[in-house]
């Protein structure tokens, strides 16, 4: 958690957040049991036990995706980051959503320890949240999506180019929300919740 001195508070928060998201997304994927548990190994992050993907491709996917978010996070452009589980028809079944607010006007330095304690509680809560989630069908897939407040202009940067429109369908009805954990500190405010489709459009499992 050593941060450079010259970074802005937003920059500091964003880089912590990226690190955290990588761990948290891995934790979500582990929690949902998309892969056998042997695909993960126990590691320690922020002094709590977490899982890390053993397969390099999986690890790389998660790592690269959240790293790609970094510049947008710093600018406060990312509204939410979601881990979407969907079936073969591209109909989402369950979304794990990180709703982010990075206070752009926050000026003072980030309290690394406080942030760490808050984020740690997310991981702790997530690990016991399995009962809140739904069982997934055997052949589901998942991806990471980011909801941006503005479409990043393609061609402006390497990171912007790496983002493509998602092929996942949208729900017709507003979903059900099950909050898992909230954190509201400066400059970072983070809501973590699960979305499930409303009962009317229960997808064919």
């Amino acid at each position: 958690m050593q941060r450079k001195e010259n970074e802005t508070p937003q920059g500091q928060a964003a880089s912590v957040l990226v690190e955290f998201l990588e761990v948290a997304i891995t934790a979500v994927v582990f929690l949902k049991g998309v892969y056998p548990s042997g695909a993960f190994e126990r590691r320690r992050y922020m002094n709590v036990v977490v899982q890390r993907a053993r397969h390099p491709q999986l690890r790389y996917y998660i790592h690269a995706t959240v790293s790609g978010l970094l510049p947008f996070l710093q600018k406060g452009m990312v509204d939410r980051v979601a881990v979407v589980f969907f079936n073969t028809d591209n109909v989402p079944l369950e979304k794990f959503i990180f709703k982010l607010t990075v206070n752009q006007s926050y000026g003072s330095a980030v309290e690394g320890v406080d942030l760490q304690i808050s984020l740690r509680s997310f991981l702790a809560k997530l690990s016991v949240s399995e009962s809140l989630t739904k069982k997934l069908p055997p052949d589901c897939r998942w991806e990471i999506t980011g909801n941006f407040q503005l479409l990043p202009e393609t061609g402006t940067s390497k990171e912007a180019n790496s983002w493509i429109p998602t092929g996942i369908k949208q729900w017709e009805q507003p979903p059900f929300i099950t909050p898992i954990r909230s954190m509201s500190s400066d400059p970072l405010c983070l809501q973590f919740y699960i979305e499930h489709p409303s009962l009317s459009e229960s997808p064919v499992l």
Partner: protein, 1113 residues
């Protein structure tokens, strides 16, 4: 605009393909649990690996694993560039959660040449690192640590920072580190860990006897328990010593022998409980026996069953245990401390004295005027007991009269207990009060020391004073052993004769000697006593004053202490004669008006004080500077609570209340070592902070709150605290201050403008009440001073009400419908009976009317009053509210005529405060001023702001910097959508330091409860943490209380506001609250209505912010 993108940098992963890949490692399914609990998983682990089976069993597996881990560690260590070997030889084992984590610690050990053990082993581990230990491990620390040091992780960090291996001792885990003997070992008689000591087997057996004897001894004398405590303390020190002795290979049998005897003593003691005096003598003789100079003398006195002796061995037993206490572990530390404090005895003595001689001390005042005006030669006698504390103790032991004797807490010759008093033979050896016992013993090896005997002191002091009072009706007590008598009016022929007869009588009654001085005024009498001592008397006639003073050293004058004396010395003034050379003016210039004048007067033997003027104490307080050790804030707060209780008790004893509160703290100096005096405060910085509140109080809760605030001002590490004192000054008489509250309260100031309105309103009831309560008011010393407000003390009223339950009820037309309607059902039915059933009709008639008139926003203050009264029905700490409740109780009385003062719902509607003196706009209020105002006062002011103003005001974030949730501070009122059901409610219920909803709820008893609970939780907790408690308390309310629409509306509004505040930044909190609410809704009709009403709003809010609806299973 929402754009949904997915990362193209990687293909989405298909779980099936993944599964196939990972099938190869199916073996690893156990992996998750493997590291978690080795013990329980050992079977699966070994079965797992049994295929290869390099290990025959678990232990060989572990041995192999440890070996492998060590090799890993070694290779890693050799890989990392060798730095300074700070931790060479150190091998740590990390237990549980630590900051930094065990892995980081491991990293440090790698880097700095230490070792890191994954599994605990007595043989390789040198230090155990942990931040916290469960109680079970603390209790059985040896089993857990195997005697190894248990150290906090900061030790490692600090060592690295210092670049050398620091001593681990200061970093020892507090839970374990009680290596310093602590006070309460003396107070508590527990001695559990006896078995540790090698030579105490015999003692162990004896121990129960000793403990048994304590209660019995306690029966013998009332005060004995405290003495026991004290002696145990004394003994505790001895025990230290006895350890020393045994280590010096002193004959162990010598120790054991007396033990056996002690058991006998126990029995004897019981048999001859009353003959302790003779036993005392025997004991002291034994102590004087020169062959027993060692501190353990008392052990080897055969058959002496004196208390002291009797206790000493027990101390030995307790002492051998490793139990160490102080403020840390003794819950009643403060109480015990003062029970054993000599200064406290002297300090509180006056209290007792006044109670014992009440008429006498008041009778004095009549005479004062006489003595002042009279020109006749006044005769003042000053009587002072000779070394009171010693002579009382030895008064029954004539053998000791000419031996050096001292009184102190400890009898340990190496002890650091201070001599509190020494008799004249002892003084001739140079022994002075305040000296350590060990120094005193060095000066005079055969010094006999005694513990205090407070009971005897009290007895003798009483005898002393009854003699004095018999001889003279003008007695001014200075201390328990010192008094002035004024014989001016008595026209005594020969003062010297009188003095000698008094002294003789004192000696015959108490067997203690007293000295007397006679002079023309108090100063001279006192100076005369100085010459007279010991056991003599001296008369300084006015003619001899000058002679006498001329050579008198200045420090003999009262009021000249060390500092002043030093200053005078610099001016080369050593005697009063030299002092007289200096003019009054220059003295006053140098030392200030008062001191200067005093010096000038005293040096001439002039003293205008007259006997009998008892100086009212200017401050009351309590200090504890011994045995104060805190582990953490909680200890400290616990201690302060007790200290507050003590101070509050003292205030109540004196019948005064104070306005200024000073917290004094002795903080260990940075470089100070452990104090020389056992458990003393050592070298300390003295810090103090004080606060003055507008209204005097003695209420313990207010005290506690103030003290907590004050402590916060110090920014001090509680571990550094070595002493704490709390003093209350600006004292006011409790009775008068109650009367006087009216004058000083904000309320009266605010309402003065509207007094006439109020007057009209209350006119009828007031007059009536005057006659009703006339006798009670006068008998309790309460008065009506202003027509506009009632000054009957709440307390008294309640007494009156309960004592006289049925007074004539007021006519029906005077009743307030609103009040009646809100009464609890049982009160209502009772009342209805009184009115012969007419009340129901009355309510029905009035209902329409009252409903229209009871707008929600009105009568904030009254609601506050209701609430406050409910809070603290008999002792309201907040004066404003007290008046409210007085008013209310008054009205209540008028309406009800029967006493259920504390549970009634009275809302006399008034708009009094609307046309008050408060500024009409926020701009006229200085927010910074408001911030400085004490909490309760602020609340009152806010209450008095009309709703619209309060809103402006509350939403100013500056009012409450950082006290409440940041979220609620930042509420932007403009954001809140208008058009909700209740427009009367403003839109910022959750804003402000004291959320404004607290006020709104006070007209509804059930919701008021919520406010109270929220209040208790300290305003800063989230609603979700308050709700469950509320529900449990709400349950019975729900049954008795009818549910009104307003109540539901207010609750809904409150929740809506909360949703608005929280939805954006803390959806989890909202979720928890509504899950709770839903759960309550099943049980309670009220909550089910609330829940149903608010649910659509909630979902709309969630939809706005998150594009979905909250899932409520």
């Amino acid at each position: 605009m929402d754009s949904r993108l997915s990362n193209s940098s990687s293909s989405t992963h298909h779980s099936n393909s993944k599964k196939r890949k990972k099938n190869a490692t199916a073996n690893n399914t156990n992996q998750k649990t493997l590291g978690v609990a080795w013990g329980s998983k050992s079977l699966s682990a070994s079965s797992c690996s049994s295929r290869k089976s390099p290990f025959s069993d678990f232990s060989s597996y572990m041995a192999h694993k440890n070996c492998k881990l060590q090799n890993q560690f070694d290779s890693e260590a050799s890989a990392s560039a060798a730095r300074k070997p700070i931790f060479s030889g150190v091998s740590i084992f990390v237990d549980g959660f630590t900051v930094p984590s065990s892995q980081e610690l491991r990293g440090y050990m790698l880097k700095y040449d230490g070792r890191f053990e994954n599994y605990f082993s007595r043989h390789c581990v040198t230090h155990i690192i942990c931040s916290n230990l469960p109680d079970s491990k603390v209790k059985n620390i040896r089993a857990f640590s195997a005697g190894l040091p248990v150290v906090k992780p900061t030790w490692i960090l600090d060592s690295i920072a210092a670049n050398r291996l620091l001593s681990w001792v200061p970093y020892q885990l507090e839970q374990v580190a009680s290596n310093q003997p602590k006070l309460s070992a003396f107070f508590t008689l527990k001695s559990s860990k006896m078995s540790e000591d090698t030579f105490t087997n015999a003692l162990c057996q004896v121990e129960p006897d000793v403990q048994d004897s304590f209660p019995r001894v306690g029966q013998l004398k009332e005060r004995h328990p405290s003495e026991v405590g004290e002696m145990v303390e004394v003994c505790r020190q001895i025990s230290n010593e006895s350890n020393d002795i045994s280590s010096k290979k002193t004959d162990v049998f010598m120790m054991e022998e007396p033990i056996g005897e002690r058991v006998i003593c126990d029995e004897e003691k019981l048999a001859e409980a009353n003959s302790s005096e003779t036993n005392n003598e025997r004991n002291t003789e034994g102590e004087l026996d020169p062959t027993y100079q060692e501190p353990s003398t008392s052990f080897s006195i055969p058959c002496s069953d004196n208390q002291n002796v009797h206790q000493f061995p027990s101390s030995e037993a307790t002492g051998s245990s490793k139990q160490c206490h102080s403020t840390l572990t003794d819950p009643n530390f403060v109480e015990n401390y003062f029970k054993n404090s000599r200064l406290h005895f002297i300090g509180t003595w006056r209290q007792r004295y006044r109670k014992r001689f009440p008429t006498l001390s008041t009778g004095l005042n009549n005479g004062i005027s006489n003595s002042n005006k009279s020109d006749i030669k006044s005769v003042i006698l000053h009587v002072d007991m000779d070394c009171f504390f010693v002579s009382v103790v030895i008064r029954n032991k004539p053998a000791l009269f000419d031996k050096p004797v001292a009184v102190c807490h400890s009898n340990n010759s190496k002890g650091t207990s201070e001599i509190s008093s020494a008799n004249y033979p002892a003084r001739s050896y140079g022994i002075r009060a305040g000296m350590f016992v060990r120094d005193a013993k060095a000066l005079c090896p055969h010094l006999v020391t005694f513990p205090y005997n407070f009971e005897a002191y009290e007895e003798v002091a009483d005898q002393f004073y009854s003699i004095l009072h018999r001889h003279c009706n003008k007695v001014q007590a200075v201390s328990c052993d010192e008094a002035f008598l004024d014989f001016t009016d008595a026209m005594v022929e020969d003062p010297e004769l009188l003095a000698s007869s008094i002294r003789k009588e004192i000696y015959e009654t108490t067997r203690c000697t007293a000295s007397a001085g006679i002079g023309g005024n108090m100063l001279m009498a006192r100076i005369a006593t100085r010459t007279a001592k010991p056991n003599g008397q001296c008369y300084i006639t006015p003619e001899r004053v000058d002679d006498h003073l001329n050579q008198l050293p200045v420090d003999a004058l009262p009021g000249i202490g060390y500092v002043l004396q030093e200053k005078l010395k610099k001016q080369s003034v050593n005697t009063c004669g030299q002092l007289r050379m200096i003019s009054k003016n220059s003295l006053q210039k140098e030392y200030g008006m008062k001191t200067g004048e005093m010096l000038w007067n005293y040096s001439r033997g002039i003293d205008y004080r007259s006997v009998g003027i008892i100086q009212e104490c200017k401050s009351i307080g309590a200090d504890v500077n011994w045995g104060v050790r805190f582990r953490d804030m909680k200890d400290c707060e616990h201690f302060l609570i007790n200290l507050c209780k003590e101070v509050s008790l003292r205030l109540q004893c004196c019948g005064v209340q104070g306005r200024t509160f000073t917290l004094k703290i002795k903080k260990r100096r940075k470089d100070a070592d452990e104090p020389a005096k056992f458990m003393g405060c050592g070298d300390c910085e003295n810090l103090s902070h004080s606060v003055t509140i507008p209204l005097a109080t003695e209420n313990v809760e207010i005290l506690q709150r103030i003290v907590k605030q004050l402590l916060g001002c110090f920014y001090i590490d509680v571990k550094e605290i070595r002493g704490i004192g709390l003093h209350v000054s600006r004292l006011e008489n409790a009775d008068t201050s109650k009367q006087g509250t009216e004058k000083y309260t904000l309320k009266s100031w605010l309402t003065s403008g509207s007094a006439s309105v109020e007057k009209q309103k209350y006119h009828m009831g007031h007059n009536k009440h005057n006659s009703d309560c006339a006798n009670c008011a006068s008998s309790h010393g309460c008065i009506h001073s202003q027509g506009s407000s009632f000054q009957i003390d709440n307390k008294i009223l309640n007494i009156h009400v309960s004592g006289d339950p049925i007074s004539t009820p007021p006519p029906l037309c005077q009743l307030d419908v609103e009040v009646i309607r809100n009464l609890p059902s049982e009160v209502f039915s009772e009342l209805n009976e009184i009115y012969g059933g007419k009340l129901i009709d009355f309510i029905a008639k009035g209902k329409g009317k009252c409903e229209s008139s009871s707008s929600l926003g009105n009568s904030l203050e009254d609601d506050a009053a209701t609430c406050k009264e409910e809070d603290l029905p008999y002792s309201d700490p907040i004066p404003l509210n007290q008046i409210f409740s007085e008013n209310k109780a008054m009205q209540h009385e008028r309406v009800l005529g029967s006493g259920h003062g504390s549970c009634s719902q009275v809302t006399h509607n008034s708009n009094i405060e609307r046309d008050d003196l408060l500024p009409s706009s926020l701009s006229q209020i200085d927010a910074s001023v408001l911030q400085q105002i004490p909490e309760d006062l602020k609340a009152v002011i806010l209450e008095h702001l009309p709703a619209h103003r309060a809103q402006d005001f509350c939403s100013t974030p500056a009012i409450c910097p950082g006290r409440i949730n940041q979220d609620s501070v930042g509420v932007d009122t403009s954001k809140n959508c208008p058009g909700t059901v209740n427009h009367a409610l403003n839109d910022s219920l959750w804003a402000g330091n004291l959320p404004s909803w607290m006020d709104k709820f006070k007209d509804s008893s059930c919701l008021r409860k919520l406010g109270e609970i929220y209040h208790r939780s300290g305003f800063n907790s989230q609603l979700s943490s308050v709700l469950p408690q509320f529900l449990s308390e709400f349950h019975h309310l729900d049954l008795t209380q009818e549910i009104y629409d307003e109540t539901v509306n207010i609750m809904c509004e409150l929740l809506k506001q909360y949703v608005k505040v929280k939805i954006e930044r803390d959806i989890e909190e909202i979720y928890i609250c509504f899950r709770l609410l839903k759960r309550f809704a099943v049980k309670s009709q009220f909550f089910s209505r609330v829940y149903n009403d608010i649910f659509p709003f909630l979902q709309a809010a969630v939809d706005d912010n998150y594009g979905g609806s909250l899932f409520m299973p």
